[in-house]
């Protein structure tokens, strides 16, 4: 009869590497819980984020306890009952123990039932759509690969609403209700520091509530990004949430609702001449000698009774005032802008060759083979529109 001969029967020191591994793992996890980074879910900056994080912590602690118990039981068992060279006997051929089976079925059920209650409560809390006049209503249209924001209750005297892209400004301590849909494929809106994510689905309307405790420094907004794979530049579909005091927010709104000024001289004016190429897709609200004009295509989509702005490209009326562009991906400065205008695909992967403006399908900004002069002029124009 063949028995496997194993001369290297493990000594008790086998325990050590395993224990080291276990401790190392725990240390790793503990290190991770220091919550590094501005896009972390572990240091929430708003009540909804805290609701989620508190629940997470509770369950994580329970899970850690279970983890320790099970791993200790496992390693204790293999150490205590390891085959020893001098031991010739055979073990008792135990087949089972029904009482034990029932016990270790029921205990997990009880633990899970205990966390089920706060879980269900948490769902309804987080999913509740805020109601009332004090709620700031923002409509979000997801595009490949940028974010469109419309503040539907904030209008100027002419009835134009505040439309912007990629940089979301909200007042502190205010319930913000995002009503969202997609113009093309499924996206997901995620700013971890404030809240969990919510998918942005074509032909459907979804809601997400944001509440932020405190204003953010101007150079450090809360970062967010698309969290549902949406194609080539999914990784570069980011956005920023700027939190302002109510006063600063109101000031920002006023600035944004004001139209851009039509430049009359210098590089900016030359830039405006070249801008004609851009308005095949981009929008701007420009105030000139003939009054206020909306240039660029205006499109809307209707989903479940809600009308969403659905432009082909970001509104550029106040582009100069944005800290980033390319959907929150690039710092808005001369150097990047020049690169972008020279060939957008150098900075961000896109498929503009598949654009079909008629059908409303836009998969990126084409390379217009702009001259260096045009580029400089356009930069002058856009920088002036802050």
């Amino acid at each position: 009869m063949n028995h496997a001969h194993n001369e290297n029967e493990p000594a008790p020191s086998r325990r050590r590497p395993l224990m080291i591994g276990l401790v190392g793992l725990l240390a790793l996890m503990a290190a991770g819980c220091s919550g590094a980074g501005p896009q972390t879910a572990l240091n929430p900056e708003g009540p909804i984020g805290r609701t989620i994080d508190d629940l997470w912590e509770l369950v994580f602690i329970l899970a850690t306890i279970v983890f320790v118990i099970v791993q200790v039981a496992l390693f204790y068992t293999i150490v205590r009952y390891r085959a020893r060279k001098d031991d010739d006997g055979e073990p008792v051929q135990v087949h089972g123990n029904t009482r034990l089976e029932i016990t270790w079925t029921i205990i997990p059920v009880v633990i899970l039932a205990a966390i089920a209650y706060p879980t269900v409560k948490g769902i309804f809390d987080v999913r509740a759509i805020p109601q009332g006049e004090d709620v700031l209503q923002v409509q979000v249209t997801g595009h490949q690969w940028w974010w469109e924001f419309e503040y539907v209750d904030l209008e100027d005297e002419t009835g134009r609403t505040l439309v912007t892209a990629n940089e979301l400004y909200i007042p502190e301590d205010t319930e913000v209700n995002l009503t969202m849909t997609s113009a093309d494929v499924i996206h997901s809106f995620w700013v971890p520091v404030l809240a969990g994510k919510r998918d942005v689905v074509p032909n459907r309307v979804s809601n997400l509530t944001l509440i932020a405790d405190d204003p953010t420094p101007p150079d450090a907004p809360h970062p967010g990004q698309c969290a549902e794979y949406c194609g080539l530049a999914h990784a570069d579909m980011r956005f920023k949430v700027h939190v302002r005091s109510q006063v600063d927010f109101d000031a920002w709104v006023e600035d944004q609702l004001a139209p851009a000024q039509l430049p009359t001289e210098g590089a900016a004016a030359a830039g405006y001449a070249a801008f004609g190429t851009c308005v095949a897709c981009h929008n701007a609200t420009v105030s000139g000698p003939d009054g206020i004009e909306d240039i660029g295509p205006v499109r809307t989509i209707e989903v479940d009774g809600v009308t969403f702005t659905s432009s082909l490209a970001p509104d550029l009326t106040h582009f100069g005032g944005r800290a980033t562009f390319g959907s929150g991906t690039f710092e808005n400065n001369r150097e990047h802008l020049a690169q972008w205008l020279a060939n957008p695909a150098d900075l961000k992967p896109m498929r503009p060759e598949l654009n079909d403006i008629e059908a409303g399908r836009i998969l990126g900004m084409p390379n217009f083979n702009l001259s260096d002069d045009d580029i400089n002029n356009l930069i002058a124009l856009l920088e002036g529109w802050d």
Partner: protein, 629 residues
């Protein structure tokens, strides 16, 4: 008593014998080899991904290349590696565990393998034929139906469909086998746990794959015929429901065979029976059932509404219970036993330890509000790699070290094996433990790059180092597999002092498996031919009166001669080339469909080849030279 092998039962040789084989053991080995090669391909894809993500704003891969690589890494690992590895073990051992000579439909079995191989070739060929699928392995619509300028997602729609057909056929085969071909006395509650899990898995596939199949057809039609299943007036969430109704049972398909293997390894190397055999079996069945009720936990952020989210959340929590039962039973198996740290046992213990971590992170996901943060982040990536790799791969590797002596008659090398184990354990944890942290710190999945300033660089670097360690560990494994066939220490029939029927026959087994079909009286029947129990319940080795074969004693007939069958009466199914022909035809049809409208001709030709294969197959006798009564 050794049977004289006559010509019909001699082990056939040569490539043609492999191409026409209908022997479940050879088919199992072919599945295994193919899956291992695919593992290296998918592993390479992973290493490229890791290289790209080592630094912020990485430039190793373009976004387009990255998106194809992560899609194919997932698709390959799930459908071309882990599922076929399970199929490899199931093919080889289901008949041996139940005391049968082959599966119910040997030619269909071969067909399933060839269709699997050809579909894999087709899928992988997409890399050089315009681009591999790039919509993620989960293929969410309408992204997956958006671009008909590329055929990439048609490769996905057709490739996954063909793989599914192969699996459905194999599943029907296995179910029919286990339900109708068990040896006398082998009641269902005496069937080894591994084979029980194979049955559960087969039912899961039978009921879940067709749902995925409908979704794939709908995707294909949306892409090619202008239908509106997911776009236009359609609802993108329909795809998600259809996909996850398959996708969730699928993950149990991936893990249950590994759990079955671990349920064989633990008793053998603890020298005790599996603790709570009925509970382990029923928990597997429960997991199968419940697995159909939790699919929308992949969709908590999709917009199901709080009531549905709560319902699925609770259901998901509950599925942790039968899983926990198994863990406790495995520990209970070792308790009071004599645990030998042979390589199979080391990997099996690794399975339990790592799977628990994955299971617990799964419970964290079931807490729906937490999942609003965790979904689509690297936390999910960490979770499923812990259960699928820390669990699944460790379990399947345990099976390889356990059963390699049975396949080849030799042991895998001890030293190489330990290098494999420790490197894999270390590399695996270094790769995937940090991903829990990355996910909670906001790193999203399926992103080809990430910016500086978010604190993600360090753990990504750690993960990359770990991934290369995994790669190296598998080089040890591959070298061991190849080298030990000729150089490994010779193993006999029963190198581990095993408990189940496969250890009662030679290593490697003869074509006909058993000289005589055993009559079974216990679970772990083979163990009971070797050991009795004393008054304390301890195992006691019995003297061997069978001259080394440990075959069950035979009765004698009226003529005093042993009542045994003779070789001439053993009708092994004959080899056939129709399965590979039919499978080839299906592949040609698949290629044709991918390239319609130009491809209609090819599709037609493929259909004809397939029909020729099927007709030939149905008119050909199962066994040549069969004598009639």
């Amino acid at each position: 008593m050794v049977l004289d092998t006559n010509k019909d039962l001699a082990e056939p040789k040569g490539i043609w014998s492999w191409i026409t084989t209908v022997d479940h053991k050879r088919i199992g080995l072919m599945y295994g080899v193919t899956a291992l090669v695919a593992f290296f391909v998918a592993g390479l894809e992973a290493l490229l991904i890791r290289l790209q993500l080592t630094t912020a704003n990485g430039t190793v891969l373009s976004a387009d290349a990255y998106n194809q690589l992560f899609t194919m890494h997932g698709l390959t690992m799930l459908l071309v590696v882990v599922m076929p590895v399970g199929a490899a073990f199931m093919n080889y051992f289901i008949p041996l565990h139940i005391g049968a000579r082959d599966v119910a439909f040997p030619r269909a079995n071969a067909f399933s393998y060839w269709l699997f191989l050809f579909s894999t070739i087709m899928l992988l060929s997409s890399f050089v034929l315009g681009g591999a699928p790039d919509g993620g392995w989960f293929g969410y619509a309408p992204l997956s139906t958006q671009l008909d300028e590329f055929v990439r997602m048609d490769y996905y729609a057709i490739g996954a469909q063909l793989l599914g057909i192969a699996s459905i056929m194999a599943s029907a085969n296995f179910i029919a086998t286990v339900f109708t071909m068990r040896a006398p006395g082998m009641t269902l509650m005496r069937v080894p746990v591994f084979t029980w899990m194979a049955v559960v898995v087969s039912f899961l596939l039978i009921f879940s794959l067709p749902i995925f199949g409908v979704g794939l057809f709908q995707m294909f039609f949306d892409r090619n015929f202008g239908t509106q299943f997911f776009g236009g007036g359609g609802d993108p969430l329909l795809w998600q429901h259809l996909f996850w109704l398959f996708g969730h049972p699928e993950v149990y398909v991936l893990i249950l065979p590994a759990m079955g293997i671990v349920s064989e390894v633990f008793p053998t190397f603890s020298r005790k029976p599996l603790f709570g055999y009925p509970f382990v079996v029923f928990s597997g069945i429960a997991i199968g059932f419940m697995g159909f009720g939790v699919w929308a936990h992949h969709m908590y952020t999709a917009g199901l509404g709080p009531v549905a989210e709560a319902g699925f959340g609770i259901a998901t929590m509950m599925i942790a219970v039968p899983t926990g039962v198994k863990i406790f039973n495995w520990i209970g198996t070792m308790w009071g036993g004599k645990v030998r740290f042979e390589l199979p046992m080391m990997f099996a213990i690794g399975f339990v330890s790592l799977f628990v971590i994955g299971g617990l992170s799964g419970v964290l996901h079931s807490v729906v509000p937490s999942d609003y943060q965790q979904h689509d982040s690297y936390f999910v990536v960490a979770h499923f790699h812990y259960v699928l790799f820390g669990g699944g791969v460790f379990g399947y590797v345990a099976g390889a070290y356990y059963w390699y002596p049975k396949w080849t008659g030799r042991f895998l090398d001890e030293k190489l094996g330990r290098w494999h184990f420790w490197l894999m354990l270390l590399g695996f944890n270094l790769t995937f433990a940090p991903m829990h942290i990355l996910g909670l710190n906001g790193m999203a999945r399926r992103t080809y790059r990430y910016p500086e300033g978010l604190g993600w660089e360090f753990w990504n670097q750690v993960a990359t180092v770990g991934s290369f360690l995994i790669g190296i560990s598998f080089l040890f494994f591959a070298w061991n597999l190849i080298r030990s066939r000729k150089n490994g220490r010779v193993a006999g029939n029963d190198p581990w002092d095993g408990r189940t029927l496969e250890w009662s026959i030679p290593s490697p087994p003869p074509v006909h498996n058993f000289d005589e079909i055993p009559v079974v009286e216990h679970v772990d029947d083979f163990w009971h031919r070797k050991y009795a129990t004393d008054e304390d319940g301890r195992a006691v080795r019995m003297p061997d009166v069978t001259g080394g074969t440990l075959a069950a004693e035979t009765t004698t007939g009226d003529d005093g001669e042993a009542n045994r069958g003779s070789p001439e009466d053993m009708h092994m199914p004959s080899p056939s080339y129709y399965p590979i022909v039919a499978a080839f035809g299906v592949m040609v049809t698949g290629y044709g469909l991918i390239y319609i409208p130009v491809g209609w001709v090819a599709a037609g030709v493929g259909l004809l080849i397939t029909l020729w294969g099927f007709f030939g197959w149905s008119l050909e006798p199962v066994t040549r030279d069969a004598h009639h009564d």
